[in-house]
């Protein structure tokens, strides 16, 4: 036989033994709704920060360039010096001087394919690939200045690294907010439940008198608060999702807000909030009800 969870099981007249209680009911639903609403945004923020961090991390493609400008007669010499320096720098996986053809291909979009690379005083480009540990940019710069005065290190992707770290932190903050929201919800519902129990001391006395066990009395309260929290959270989640959905789309807003919202299956994630809130309400009310009942008689 399939057993329904205790809070859904109804022994006869079940929770009608507890009188409908005005403001604690409203307070519980409202709290659950408001908290779920906030949680939707915290969740959206976390997910967006997560994908932002992932995107920025991926574009740190671990490459840098050394630009070398030198008089024509020294350029080969200095290129060798730079390559030698790079070869002995820890954290660098490989370094390679670009050929004239490659440089021409790089410049073609701007100057056309017929650029006479040989005759122009173009800087020589040396491509660096880091290994996973990374190298010390400032140290390398100083050594290059000593070995090859015309060499300039251009680590163009490095500026993104703090941003990727910031995005990761932001995601962490988002998750912490969700945990805090959950804790606050549990606290508020516990308070509302204890208030309801205290207000119904007479009801509890009568129930105990006719032989009701603590779990029966607790269940009547727990069931009610769980259902209220579930409904409130469903409403709050719905509103929150509509709010996220109405945010300007990635294309029109651009910049930092790009992608603040749910993508694809991500829209299913906030749907977990109502059952999660109900579970929190169930645990919180049950614990406080059983404790309170032991105090009362």
């Amino acid at each position: 036989m399939m057993r329904r969870p205790a809070f859904l099981r109804d022994e006869g007249k079940g929770d009608s033994v507890v009188p409908p209680s005005g403001h604690t009911a409203w307070l519980t639903s409202f709290t659950a709704a408001a908290m779920a609403f906030l949680a939707v945004f915290a969740l959206a923020l976390s997910l967006a920060a997560g994908s932002l961090a992932a995107r920025w991390q991926a574009s740190l493609d671990r490459t840098a360039t050394v630009r070398l400008s030198a008089p024509e007669d020294q350029i080969d010499l200095q290129t060798k010096a730079v390559l030698a320096t790079l070869a002995t720098t820890p954290g660098i996986a490989s370094a390679r001087a670009m050929t004239d053809d490659e440089q021409r291909a790089l410049l073609a979009p701007w100057f056309g394919p017929d650029l006479p690379v040989d005759t122009l005083p173009l800087p020589r480009l040396i491509e660096i690939t880091e290994d996973s540990t990374g190298y010390d940019g400032e140290g390398l710069r100083q050594r290059l200045a000593a070995e090859a005065p015309g060499a300039v290190l251009d680590d163009h992707t490095r500026w993104r690294r703090p941003l990727a770290v910031a995005a990761t932190r932001l995601r962490l903050l988002g998750f912490m907010s969700i945990v805090l929201i959950g804790t606050a919800t549990a606290a508020m519902i516990t308070l509302a439940a204890s208030a309801a129990l205290a207000a119904n001391a007479q009801v509890i006395r009568v129930l105990r008198l006719v032989g009701a066990r603590d779990v029966y009395i607790a269940r009547a309260f727990v069931r009610r608060f769980t259902l209220r929290a579930l409904m409130g959270a469903a409403a709050g989640t719905g509103l929150g999702m509509v709010g996220v959905w109405m945010l300007p789309s990635a294309d029109s807003a651009g910049g930092f807000l790009t992608g603040l919202g749910f993508q694809g299956a991500g829209w299913l994630l906030p749907l977990l909030l109502p059952p999660l809130t109900a579970a929190v309400a169930y645990a919180a009310t049950r614990a406080s009800a059983l404790r309170k009942l032991r105090e009362l008689t």
Binding site: V206, L209, V210, G211, R213
Partner: protein, 223 residues
């Protein structure tokens, strides 16, 4: 069934009841009298585990009350029907739901025919859907008695069950209690009403307990 051994009780000040020893045998019928404030209600509360003795031992259905868990006390109360002096109900539920409350909390189904019979017996058939706050004192007492016996308890403890009733209704309740006693239930009735006691003695072999000067005595035939 219910046994007291050198039981004493105090609400915190001096002892209200001292050195009481008593056995309520199955199927016995007892009246409990004594001046107001003597401790009749307190005695009954000791008998259904609402209060624990401050000294001595009370045994309910062969178990020491001090060894009972909260759940055990709940189960014990299903075997003891109590009519309180201040009959308390769930004010938001109609009378019928209040009378069947012991069945509800025990997860048992009610029998509509039995309920109608019972309400008819205590003269509340027409008030099944009334809310408790709208009932008179006597109606509340009759409802409380109906609630106390709906589970078919082994013991019935009634605290002034006829306090607000006219003589005719008092006799009717007394008859109901003596009927239950003939069916083998143990009955204890706290009352000031000597006429009621005299009347009962013509119906059942009832004994009279009297609380005075902190002790409980078996009253003589002088009533």
């Amino acid at each position: 069934m219910i046994a007291l051994e050198n039981v004493a009780y105090s609400y915190g000040g001096g002892e209200l009841l001292s050195d009481m020893s008593l056995r309520l045998a199955p199927g016995s019928f007892h009246f409990l009298t004594g001046p107001s404030g003597a401790g009749k209600s307190t005695f009954l509360k000791l008998c259904y585990g609402e209060l624990l003795p401050t000294a001595g031992h009370i045994t309910l259905f062969d178990r020491d009350v001090r060894s009972l868990t909260r759940d055990d006390i709940a189960y014990t109360r299903r075997r003891i029907g109590v009519v309180h002096q201040d009959c308390q109900f769930l004010d938001h539920l109609p009378l019928a739901a209040n009378v069947t409350l012991p069945l509800t909390v025990a997860g048992r189904a009610e029998n509509a025919g039995d309920l109608a019979d019972l309400l008819g017996w205590v003269g509340l058939g027409a008030l099944a859907q009334a809310l408790p706050p709208s009932l008179s004192g006597g109606e509340r007492q009759r409802a409380a008695l109906a609630r106390a016996i709906i589970m078919g308890p082994d013991v019935i403890l009634a605290d002034e069950p006829t306090g607000n009733l006219d003589w005719e209704m008092s006799l009717r309740l007394l008859t109901l209690l003596t009927e239950l006693n003939r069916m083998g239930k143990t009955v204890v009735v706290a009352t000031h009403d000597l006429n009621l006691i005299r009347q009962a003695k013509s119906l059942v072999p009832a004994r009279v307990l009297r609380i005075s000067k902190r002790r409980i005595h078996l009253a003589g035939a002088d009533l």
